[in-house]
């Protein structure tokens, strides 16, 4: 009885504070735009029409994406001073509901075995925490879910500050009454996109048809109807989550290279996908009991439920992505524009971006791009001797109009196919970094077959070179063996070590990107030999300082 009186009192005292603030609820957006970045988040921009009264008002936006970063929210076009902004996410979960019910009355419903009789008892929640629930009934104190009886709790009411969905609200001062269209934008986690390329070589191996796809993914449980969707190709500077930033993979300045960043992103994406997997709410209930043998059937049931949940989740997303692939084959190209120093690709028509969906769109089709195929071998003198690992097969092209391309190419995997009569052969794949227009592109697609290399080196030290005024000399002989029925081009790149100079060479060479470079034509079923000499000059005598 006493608890009941207290409860009434609480409601009464809570009431006046609420009543003075008028709340206008905006249940959904009029239109929405989703801009997806490579770093596992998106910028969601919504327009919402609300009817504002003249006095101060709280406007609540329902249906925002659950993963939103509250600090990133921007509310524009409000037309009156904004006093404060709140993001409430004390979620209405069984655990929170119980924690808020401490000291309050609940009903326990038990089903007795045998007779199947249902018994209801009133109880007061004495304690509820991660380790379990303690109740006070008219028999005394007891704990929930420890007796082995089927039992559950029923609550009289839901506390006002628990929300089924996260809620963003703003408090506005008094102003002009009437309808207004407000723009709301925020960053939300759980989105990703990648570019992927397909290159089809012609039979001569000097042209390729290049097509490029955007694959975007919505990992969240939010669906967007008729959304304007775009993706941004750019390396944004982002701060780590622990520094209140947006990046799930730490500060973007901390990565050694793009490969490391890609790996970190992929790991974070998988973690996020698991986190955002829909959960069975019954699994979240407080489980703790005193040390007792847990009835086995209960544990088993939970395990089965979890398994079936994951499997259906996977199946669904898989099916969706396949459907999209099928329907997307005749799709129009995404349109590119510059956004600051990045590239932005806009899907040409509004589209439905559903929860846990993968979508694909084509953004580039370039037929007959000029390419060059050759083999490359990169080495440093100190690390060779005898038979070497096979050279790499390379597809190279210049990203310019004259070659039939000249478009910004966002980083992505390039899959290369060769045409062999009627059928296609998958040659291999290479990851490409962002390539602006005018930059050369070189993709190492596979290791060479039937192309072997041997490098022999002879060192001469300072003692024998005193007269020539040298401190070191290396004579190198490179032998390339081609077991193919066609001649091939082999490019050798030897790293230039310090102040070394190329003293002589049997073949033409050039110096490029810190390497001595030779281009050799290796005849069909033949051998090609290159000889050269590298020298290090003797150091001048120590000067007076």
């Amino acid at each position: 009885m006493r608890e009941k009186a207290l409860l009434v009192l609480l409601l009464l005292t809570g009431a006046p504070a609420r009543a003075q603030q008028i709340e206008v609820v905006s249940p959904q957006s009029d239109s929405v735009s989703v801009t997806i970045y490579r770093d596992l988040f998106a910028l969601v921009t919504e327009t919402r029409t609300v009817d504002l009264p003249e006095g101060p008002v709280t406007v609540s936006f329902e249906g925002v994406v659950e993963t939103l970063l509250p600090a990133s929210a921007v509310v524009a076009d409000v037309g009156r001073p904004l006093a404060e902004r709140n993001f409430d996410y004390d979620a209405l979960t069984p655990n929170n509901l119980l924690a808020r019910s401490i000291g309050k009355s609940v009903t326990i419903t038990r089903t007795l075995p045998g007779s199947g009789k249902v018994v209801q008892t009133r109880a007061t929640v004495v304690a509820a925490n991660d380790a379990g629930i303690t109740l006070h009934t008219d028999l005394g104190n007891e704990t929930l879910h420890c007796s082995g009886l089927p039992e559950h709790l029923t609550f009289d009411a839901i506390p006002g500050d628990l929300h089924a969905k996260p809620k963003l609200s703003i408090q506005l001062a008094a102003g002009q009454p009437g309808k207004r269209t407000i723009r709301l934008s925020y960053l939300a986690r759980g989105f990703a996109w990648k570019a992927a390329y397909v290159a089809r070589l012609n039979s001569a191996g000097n042209r390729m048809d290049l097509s490029a796809w955007i694959t975007l993914q919505n990992l969240t449980q939010a669906s967007f109807r008729g959304a304007q969707v775009q993706v941004v190709a750019g390396k944004l500077h982002l701060l780590a989550e622990e520094d209140r930033g947006t990046s799930l993979t730490g500060d973007t300045d901390n990565f050694y290279d793009e490969q490391a960043m890609d790996e970190a992103r992929e790991n974070a994406r998988q973690r996020l996908q698991n986190e955002l997997e829909p959960k069975d709410p019954t699994l979240q209930l407080f489980g703790g009991c005193y040390a007792l043998p847990v009835p086995p059937e209960r544990a088993d049931r939970h395990f089965e439920e979890m398994q079936s949940l994951i499997v259906t989740g996977m199946r669904r997303s898989l099916m969706e992505s396949m459907d999209v692939k099928r329907s997307a084959m005749g799709v129009v190209e995404a349109v590119r524009e510059e956004l600051g120093d990045y590239q932005l690709y806009r899907l040409p028509l509004p589209t439905d971006l559903n929860a846990r969906q993968t979508k694909q769109a084509m953004f580039l089709v370039k037929p007959r791009v000029k390419v060059e195929r050759f083999y490359r071998f990169e080495y440093s003198l100190g690390h060779v001797g005898g038979p070497e690992s096979p050279p790499e097969s390379v597809i190279a092209f210049k990203n310019r109009k004259a070659s039939g391309l000249g478009e910004p190419l966002p980083a992505g995997l390039v899959r290369v196919f060769d045409v062999d009569g009627e059928s296609e052969i998958f040659l291999g794949e290479a990851s490409m970094t962002d390539k602006p227009v005018n930059l050369p592109v070189e993709l190492g697609v596979s290791k060479a077959m039937d192309l072997g290399l041997e490098i022999d080196t002879t060192y001469t030290g300072r003692e024998e070179l005193r007269e020539q005024n040298l401190r070191e000399r290396v004579d190198a002989e490179v032998r390339a063996f081609n077991a193919k029925t066609i001649p091939v081009v082999l490019e050798l790149r030897q790293y230039i070590d310090g102040d070394s100079v190329l003293a002589s060479s049997t073949d033409l060479f050039r110096q490029k990107d810190g390497n001595f470079v030779w281009r050799l034509r290796v005849p069909a079923n033949g051998t090609r030999v290159l000889g050269y000499r590298i020298e290090w000059p003797e150091l001048p005598a120590e000067s007076s300082n």
Binding site: F87, N141, A291, V437, L539
Partner: protein
């Protein structure tokens, strides 16, 4: 909702102050919060208390669940404080059973065939690895038979709490009807500044909105609180924390010069104070944002920068950094000091819609400072280094011929500021294709103009020795 004080007499759960509560309505006459941006807050409750005379325990409901108990101060006229307690031994089913060892519980069993209930009294002997009971003269393990068995405990041990509870033991000579003041430090309250900058490159301006973002994870909701936020580095005696602060300060290289202007902000010692105008309610797990800065057109410009830390060739061109440069001076259009926080930068797309382009952290920045926030890497502006030649002049001195190839696929001309590090004690530029400048003892800088859709190159020879 829970801001209510229950005054209990220590012997049992008898509510003596219920009538006083009902008359008063609000538990706190005043509640004030001073929140520091180090996950710590100073909380002061001013509350009426009513209690009979004599020695008694007063429990405080509605105080922060993350209270730092040793910082509690309780002051009430005519009340003598004997001791302060902070009990955080939580009541759980397992602890309830543990504490029942050696005492009697009641077992309610249900016959699985008939559903008939029977009651027995049992003594708890042990709870290690299972509950061992003595029923009459039999010894049993609880629910070994998997049959439903309810255990009824007559009382809950007094020191097991539903939630952490602060209480004081006091002595009053006569019945008390006073106003008490309770202050303490609490964890779980934090704030930081968040900025939104919409950068208009064409107009060379940026708007700035500053928000104070307050997060309450203390486990408690605070109603109608007078709130102020303090910006500054409060020293907390945690070596690791200090190390981090130091690290962050050093890392924060986007401040290019320190300002010397003052703004009209309220100051408190070395700290700036941002009061929230009206009384505010901060719910548990709520993120609240209050505006403190809204400027429309601050002068801002974009710049490309790139740094090299040695003399090497690279076959992969590197992207130049994109930075937004601005000053928070009066002349620049702002004239406000900026508390430490994250600046999120937006630019408008072709349709005029702001799109997010990057973020950077700023430290506490006094007004009049020059800042260059990093937005990201340029897609279309790259620099490729080539070490053309190395000459060893002496054993301690080497000359490096560097060529930097700067390419741009942008539709307008740009300037890239290139900085060369990797210098030893004795260094000089012998030859350069563009006049550069010495920035400090360990770096030189060049501004390289690059035409639209074109390329430029910078070459220089540096003598480097020790």
């Amino acid at each position: 909702m829970d801001n209510r004080w229950h005054v209990f007499i220590s012997s049992g759960l008898v509510l003596v102050a219920a009538s006083a509560l009902a008359a008063d309505g609000s538990p706190d006459r005043e509640l004030s919060l001073t929140i520091y941006n180090k996950n710590i807050a100073l909380i002061e409750h001013v509350r009426p208390i009513s209690a009979p005379s004599g020695r008694q325990r007063i429990e405080f409901a509605g105080v922060s669940a993350q209270i730092v108990p040793e910082t509690v101060s309780f002051v009430a006229p005519n009340v003598q404080l004997i001791e302060q307690n902070f009990d955080y031994d939580l009541l759980t089913p397992a602890k309830l059973m543990e504490k029942a060892v050696g005492s009697q519980v009641r077992l309610v069993r249900v016959n699985p065939a008939t559903g008939a209930e029977t009651q027995e009294t049992a003594e708890v002997l042990s709870t290690v690895g299972g509950v061992v009971l003595r029923i009459g003269n039999r010894i049993e393990v609880l629910r070994e038979d998997n049959l439903p068995t309810r255990v009824i405990f007559d009382k809950v041990p007094e020191n097991l709490r539903a939630r952490p509870t602060l209480s004081v033991l006091v002595n009053a000579a006569k019945p008390v009807n006073e106003v008490a003041r309770l202050t303490y430090l609490s964890r779980g309250m934090d704030w930081a500044a968040d900025y939104v900058a919409v950068f208009d490159e064409a107009k060379s301006t940026s708007s700035f909105q500053g928000w104070i973002t307050l997060k309450n994870t203390s486990g408690t909701s605070f109603a109608n609180a007078r709130t102020q936020l303090v910006a500054g580095d409060v020293n907390l005696a945690e070596s690791e924390q200090q190390w981090w602060n130091y690290f962050h300060q050093r890392r924060n290289s986007n401040q290019r010069s320190m300002g010397t202007e003052s703004s009209g902000r309220q100051q408190l010692g070395d700290y700036y104070v941002y009061p929230i105008k009206q009384l505010t309610t901060i719910a548990n797990n709520q993120t609240k944002q209050v505006s403190f800065l809204d400027v429309d057109a601050v002068k801002a410009s974009k710049g490309y920068e790139i740094s090299f830390y040695g003399f090497q060739s690279n076959s992969d061109p590197q992207s130049a950094e994109v930075r937004m440069r601005f000053s928070n001076s009066k002349a620049g259009g702002m004239g406000e000091q900026l508390p430490s926080g994250v600046v999120r930068i937006y630019m408008r797309d072709a349709r005029g819609q702001p799109q997010f382009v990057g973020e950077d952290h700023i430290g506490h920045t006094s007004a009049g400072s020059e800042l260059a926030l990093k937005i990201g890497d340029a897609f279309d502006v790259t620099v490729q280094p080539t070490l053309a030649a190395t000459r060893m002049i002496t054993r301690r001195k080497t000359e490096y011929d560097m060529i930097y190839r700067v390419r741009s696929a942008r539709s307008s001309a740009s300037v890239v500021t290139l900085r060369q590090y990797g210098l030893w004690r004795e260094n000089s530029v012998i030859k350069e294709s563009i006049a550069g400048r010495r920035v400090d003892s360990s770096s030189f800088a060049w501004d390289v103009p690059v035409p639209a859709n074109g390329e430029a190159s910078l070459s220089f020879t540096i003598s480097n020795g020790w």
